[in-house]
Symmetry: C2
Subunit: 288 residues, 2 copies
Amino acid sequence: MTVSPPKPRDIPLNALRAFEAAARLGGFAAAGAELGVTPGAVTAHVKALEAELGVALFERQAKGVALTALGQRCLPQLVGAFDALAAAVQLLRAEAAPRVVHIATLPAIAQLWLSPRLPQLRLAAPEISISITAMEAPPNLKRAPFDLCLFYGHGQGSLAEDVIFPVCSPSVADRLHEVADLADVPCLSDATWAQDWQVWLGQAAPEASILPRGPVFSLYALAVEEAVNGAGVLMGHEALVARHLERGALVAPFGPRVTLPRGLRLWAARPVFRGSAVEVVQRWLSKV
Amino acid sequence: MTVSPPKPRDIPLNALRAFEAAARLGGFAAAGAELGVTPGAVTAHVKALEAELGVALFERQAKGVALTALGQRCLPQLVGAFDALAAAVQLLRAEAAPRVVHIATLPAIAQLWLSPRLPQLRLAAPEISISITAMEAPPNLKRAPFDLCLFYGHGQGSLAEDVIFPVCSPSVADRLHEVADLADVPCLSDATWAQDWQVWLGQAAPEASILPRGPVFSLYALAVEEAVNGAGVLMGHEALVARHLERGALVAPFGPRVTLPRGLRLWAARPVFRGSAVEVVQRWLSKV
DNA sequence: TTCTAGGGTTAGAAATCCTGAGGGTTGAGA
DNA sequence: TCTCAACCCTCAGGATTTCTAACCCTAGAA
């Protein structure tokens, strides 16, 4: 009968959000990444929440954490609530800035595919402004404030297949006549697409036992720049090097073009209303 | 095409909550009261949100604020989301402390009606602990963390009618023989029930033109205490003075008992599961 | 006019929140 | 078995957010 907690203090919203993210994503590190904070901050929030409730929500294990049964019972409601909240925020944003379209995409796509098209898009729809955010992986569309996503992947809305083949500057190309010559030049690669060379070699020259060597870049656009400057041979993704091929800054010294089982996809975060700015941009990008 | 806001920064949850409360309640002062902060804090939150969105959400008028059209369009979603969030929190609390029942009630009821019953309730259900929070008005049940509400009002779940009549200590009663004698003794009253004397006189002695005078208390329980000490005559609410009448500390010197058009009501914030602690307490309080 | 209710400011204090460094534990692969 | 890579924890600052308190301002009511 004791008046246990004299005042049922209300729970900090941020702690709730941290718990929800950690529970949904199955770890504090992942939750921190989604929320844009360090895992330590998530730890603190979860601990505060547990202290407030007087119950353990996670079982700490050496490798990762596991939701307690209690946490599992409450999670669905919490996820639903935060989804609804995120949706409300999206509505608020859309109402506040109806002519702004937020696009999430890979850094490489942003710089090499999207950016060159923006001037024309501006001419075609001058009243619309575009906001581009680069990230390594498609965001959680129920939460992140984006209207369109542009990534490589499977499924609907493919703008183009992902076709790869070696490219280099014309001067470097002069030294290359057959696939075996690749052993003699630096083979540039991108950290996130580290498999490119193996995949291409496996399809284009399965019998050749070449081990491509060369610098690894963390930004594909940088690797492209280096290739243009004659630093070596890069595995080119058609959509991303097309402009340089047209201009002659890069050439494809030889051979087989390998089509990867994925495409450049553009999709909307939410149903798109006819005539909305998002629809205009989506239609325009799909057409060009 | 400018990358207008370089980063679509995410909106502070607390600012959203402040806006939602202000919009729903129609004022910053009311929102501050609900959230337990000063109006100035609400002002700051709303302003931060407006700055973030780049839009006005309220039209400031000299007397109060009014939602803009944009605010009105977004409000329902936002209210729904926070309702869902509150529900999730309630679930979390209930799961974390299933044997704790939170009751919201008037200070007077807490002290004079509920508190005397608690020892017996403890005997009847020793595994349940009760948390009592006193407040002037029933809380918003979709938001506030309570399981049961106990207030005067209309509707279902009435435990008793609200019957009022003058009470005083036996020594004071000796000097009172008829209603007119009230003019000669202090008439205690409570600030929140300031009408009590007028209502009772209007029904009990409509022709008498007595203007009751005496100290006004902000806590009814204090007024009761004073009446017991012989400080004057108090308009007693039957449920709240019953114990003192039984013990003889207070007596009803005369007359008519007036039944107000309201009762002492007990209701649950949410559907109550059979066998739950809330159900046990609700049933027990309704019976006693 | 004066009073009252409701908002807007501001500075400074309080609480919250975050980072960054250091430490553990475990499982996988060399 | 050893090392590495993932995780998580703690802790102490310090940055940021949030709140209060006291002030001013306006419009309508008494």
